[in-house]
Amino acid sequence: MSTKVTLSLGYGKQLSKQKIEVPDGEPKPWDATVKTKVVGRAVPRIDGPLKVSGEARYTHDVRVEGMLHGAILRSPHPCAVIQSIDLSGAEKAPGVRAVHAMAKAGDRMIFAGQDIAAVAAERPEQARAALEAIAVEYELQPFVASTRGAMRDGAPVVHAAAVEEKRTGADEPGAEKAAGRLQGNIRPGRSQKRGDAKRALRAAKASFEATYETQCHTHSALETHGLMIRWEAKDAVTVWASTQAIFGVRDEVAAVFGLEPAKVRVITEFLGGGFGAKFGANAPGSAIAKAAGELARTAKAPVKIMLDRQEEHLCTGNRPDSIQTVRLGANPKTGAITAIHVTAHGSAGIGTGAGVGRNASAIYTKVPDVLVESADVFTHAGPAVAFRAPGHPQGAFAMESAIDELARQLGRDPIDVRLAHDTHPVRRWQLELGRERFAWNERRREAADLRSRNTRIRRGVGCAVSIWGDFGGPDARVTVSVARDGKVAVKCGVQDIGGGIGTVMAQVAAEVLQRPLADVRVDIGDSAFGPGVGSGGSKTTSSIAPAVRNAAEAAKAELAMIASRALEGASVKRLKWTEKGVGVGRQTLSWAELCKAIEGEAVVATASRPRTYGAFPKSFPGYPTPQIAGAQFAAVEVDTWTGVVRCSEILALHDCGRVMNEMTLRSQINGGIILGVGYALMEQRVLDPGLGVVLNANLEGYKACGIKDCPDISIVLTEVASGNNSTGSYGIGEPATIPTAAAIANAVGDALGAHVRSLPITPGKVLETLEAAANSSSNSEASK
């Protein structure tokens, strides 16, 4: 049921003929020999005019007849047992139409921000006011808010019983499930192993050990979590949701209310960001769908719950923090790394999933002995959830920092150390390209000169690399129709998280059917348009684009039969397709004439895409799909008097298979980098260890990058033909943010000659690092 097809695959000039087993019925994949005309171009997104005119209606903006506004009362305490709840005040409050208890007397609340009760009222301010009329008595319990504190013997225990790991479609596919037994607040989880790292470390002639820490990072999508539920019948609902997984919401709403999934319609016409946190119907730490549905049922009216900015920081997910000890063994003569051992702890609050990605385990494959162990540490804080490349930026920061520190210790160039241990040909090429494009050697010399002169302002450069996989799959069904008036329509119930998938869909259909882009209509954002795919794992484009191509090819095949009849039985194979229409010999049929010959309203074809069938030149570990390579270079300026770091430049070299749209692709890369800059230098959720509450649950105390914090960005796209699917596309959203913070940390290390081992790299930490370095060098002077 499959055929071996010879394709031209590879990257740059390294192209070769490869035999790929392609399922029957699959069009011949676009390989290196295929030049596309519309696909790959820098085309502005097709819904841009709606977004710049304010016409686009996001979930937050949707209004329906009789709509009520919901609000949720949250526990103010990090740990407390509810003694009593009195909802009667809320029931009597002005404008209130329904009240729903989300906790009961005796329940133990385990983070500040947990659901207590919900109300629905005619206006949002009435709903909020009614919450104040709810009387709750709590018995306060001991709590632990810091990760290190939770690891100590005798710390208050967050979960008394075993904890089932909760995973969403945004978690990295193929990542090991945590399986260890809970000990106190520590639950040993994922581990990745090759050889015997502990023995190799004991045998190593040189070694390096350091502990790196990263902070808790909130998604802070600008549109908060929220949804509206309207009961259409006893067993049917319509849901407007701010989600990055329409079908995930459908299934969860169906499960929560015991409905058939087919009776749940979910609409997300426009989405104000998600970054991994908007996968379910309920928010990660708040049962908003359950509340909205129950309130709507009681009030017999649609209920919308949109969380506010504070709630968004407390109960809708975050990137877990981490404490990672990295041990490297090396041969000082050759510079070869002989062992890597990473021990990582991180807190996903009351949730699970603190991981460290795969920089340590899967990039430096020439290192024979590797062990990466990670554990969840439970704290009394809102649960974490997948966040743009879950685990990877944390792990990249620690591992890439350790590589640089080892290189400094051994007196070697950090790029050379990476090249000596990484076998991915594209990443190696990116490092070489970056070295040249970024004027690496000259800038390193300049940094060394400034250090030796002990200048106030230092400059430095650093690089770091990323690994990701193509996780596109066969979930989606795309419908392409060609109507008698010649118009093309493409439909799929996928949502646009901001990457611009609708535009890519239009491009692919326009390419296959050779129609002007403006003649292609795209309908997305509604489960009624057929199965889509969740936007997690950077798999939207590679799940949807090939399905569009396959559906468009199927529609074209049906049009070919019509053409063949109209052209006096010409064989389908002899037809020549052009932008004007179709022909054989001197006979031609314009597109309009061809479409008029359609019997009925339209030719309609629905198609999926098969599982990924090619992974050239290198696969993702344990997964038969391409491994996506990336490298970023950072330049920083550090004021050694104030400790302020400014990231002035980033060069990003990324592989994204065949580029579908250069413009939206560039936007995604910019976004990944800018998120990474904030992670490196500014962002940190501050949880008061003494109070157990978040101190900066807002956007003035939680510092995301503003426009003046952005470095100058330049991008090198190294296209790869991997033979993975019919379009050759794969994702970029997550790869683009993985190496940024690590590259900046390494640049700071280059500038200072000493490494800041904790994110964010704040002025205080820079000054402490400088002071520690000065003390240790004066001590070593003294001991000489």
């Binding site: 710049v52 304010g54 901001g498 910019n670 800018i674 003035e700 330049s714």
Partner: protein
Amino acid sequence: MVDSKRMGRRERGGSPSEGEGAGEGLTRRGLFRRLGVAGTAAALVNSSCKVQDGELEAPAVDLGPDTSGAFGLDAAPLNFTLDGKAVDTKAEARTTLLELLRLDLDATGTKVVCDRGACGACMVLVDGVARNSCMLLAHDVAGAEVTTVAGLGASGELSALQQAFVDHDALQCGFCTSGMLISASALLRKGGGPGKAAGMTAAQVEDGLAGNLCRCGTYPHVVAAVLSVAKGERVDRVPTERIALGEDGSKPARAQKGGAA
């Protein structure tokens, strides 16, 4: 101070329209609201004196505070111009301009993100000045001309700036876009208008948009879009080199686009 318990009953039925000296009762909450309105202090002294004088016939039974009729709880008339059209509406004193726009006037192009002046997503032009609508009360714009993102273009057309945002992909999820456009429009107007601010620098654009937060990272494309409109010619800000299949990148495969201005 006023004993609201004793005065609770007497207050029923009182309303500002009955006049300040008419002996209407006061609750403590109503008192503060009135003080906020100004000009009522004399009446207060007056009515509290009456209490002390024992003019009330019987001790009042506590029916809880009644705030009906207190100024600010009921909507008061408000007129302003929204996107070129006259608005004749009512708003409570506590209602922010953002709430009025989104909830009452269904002008949802203006977004709510932080609701406390930290992100710029709710920006509108008030008499040509970019303001956070969450930090203004609805009554602050009485008589003013308010322009939201929907009013930037002339009669259904996109403005040059809006078109430049589309052309440069200066948006991703689009939730910050309205506010960005408002700030940038104000900046361009100050700089002389589209095509007339050739000397505008990237740093000036960054200053002008420093109050607008974006989480998708559209900033570089936003700067390019604004500069393009200011200068009247396309400016690109993120040099991108695409090494296509069959090329080796030994020399830049094609001319780098733009370059940091």
